[in-house]
Symmetry: C2
């Protein structure tokens, strides 16, 4: 297998944590988004959509999305399970992973990409440039704050995001919560359940992957 | 099980097609978004995030996202498989499902919700109102057009979106391609592979579900 990573971006980090939790060592190439290496012909030959992470499987298939990489690795290396064993576990983990993507990852990305001067014309990933929309940056910041509140409600009721054990939903949520620092948002004061959950994951070997 | 559906919206339709392809009959309640029924206390007691579809499982768990509903049903009712059997199939189907969501479903929703006068202040799903952003509607229309081109490239190389059989990736893509009519976009002239694929799915019993 060959894993295309980027040390500075949240989506590659999700795959990196998943690989670490599986105890796998996979040959890795770093693609620097800061140097726009994802737009170079060598990388576009691998993934014409210019996104990272990418996993090239032993069978030669190219998986260009976190959920695709996770589904493949979970099926090939079932232990420890990170996407559930029973139908209910699988359903809850996929549900909360999607909630973290839509209500956490997306608003944070919108705020960063539409608001940071360094990302001018890079408001959307991919080969085509799109101008920034300042109102969307503001909406993203507002929605990211709401995500922190929703998450605290959830973690007041559940030790982990989806079930009572650590799963892909925790990886996804943890990476986005940590990445919110780029839009100057942190776990709010008084969100004790979120802070305890976050500290617990940070202490895992994969937490600093 | 109890399925909360909405006959007019694309995301519930994805779950409805998945259920139909599995040959399941599930007790269903329709929630009218036109009447804002998803914001009523009765429904918020089921899903406080106010989104549809929702599947309440026999175990009493509430699955509020398409991918969660699909993961649960696939595990409980494995045949016919819609999310792959081998690791590579599972990886490709999850990858192309995510691509359809991010590059098809999201831009179309952005164009509709930020551009349609009937959706004033409903630019984002959920209980909190958000003002429309006209530039985002325009960006959504531009990106939806690019999605049609990317899809034609893919279907020129593959009989179905993810693998050589019908899967969840086809359901997801088909529903968004069809829903693009709400922003006045259709399969472009000359996109013969997409049109043939679309007509084939439309002819399935689930195609009009």
């Amino acid at each position: 297998m060959l894993f295309y990573d980027c040390s500075t971006a949240p989506n590659p980090r999700r795959a990196r944590m998943f690989i670490a939790e599986k105890g796998l060592t996979i040959e890795t190439r770093d693609v620097s988004i800061a140097k726009a290496e994802q737009l170079r012909p060598e990388f576009l030959a691998v993934n014409p959509r210019a996104t990272i992470p990418v996993l090239v499987t032993d069978e030669g298939e190219v998986l260009t999305e976190n959920l695709g990489i996770a589904a493949y690795l979970e099926a090939r290396f079932p232990n420890p399970p990170l996407m559930g064993v029973t139908p209910v576990e699988k359903g809850l983990i996929a549900t909360w992973t999607a909630i973290a993507e839509h209500q956490g990852g997306l608003p944070i990305a919108e705020a960063l990409r539409n608001g940071n001067p360094h990302m001018k014309d890079r408001a959307v990933t991919g080969v085509v440039n799109h101008a920034q929309i300042p109102e969307l940056a503001e909406r993203g910041r507002t929605r990211a704050r709401a995500f922190f509140d929703m998450l605290e409600d959830r973690l007041q009721q559940s030790p982990y995001v989806a079930t009572d054990t650590f799963t892909l939903a925790d990886i996804t949520t943890y990476v986005f919560v940590d990445f919110a620092r780029v839009i100057k948002q942190r776990i709010p004061e008084g969100h004790t359940a979120t802070q305890a959950w976050f500290d617990g994951i940070k202490a895992r070997p994969s937490g600093t992957a």
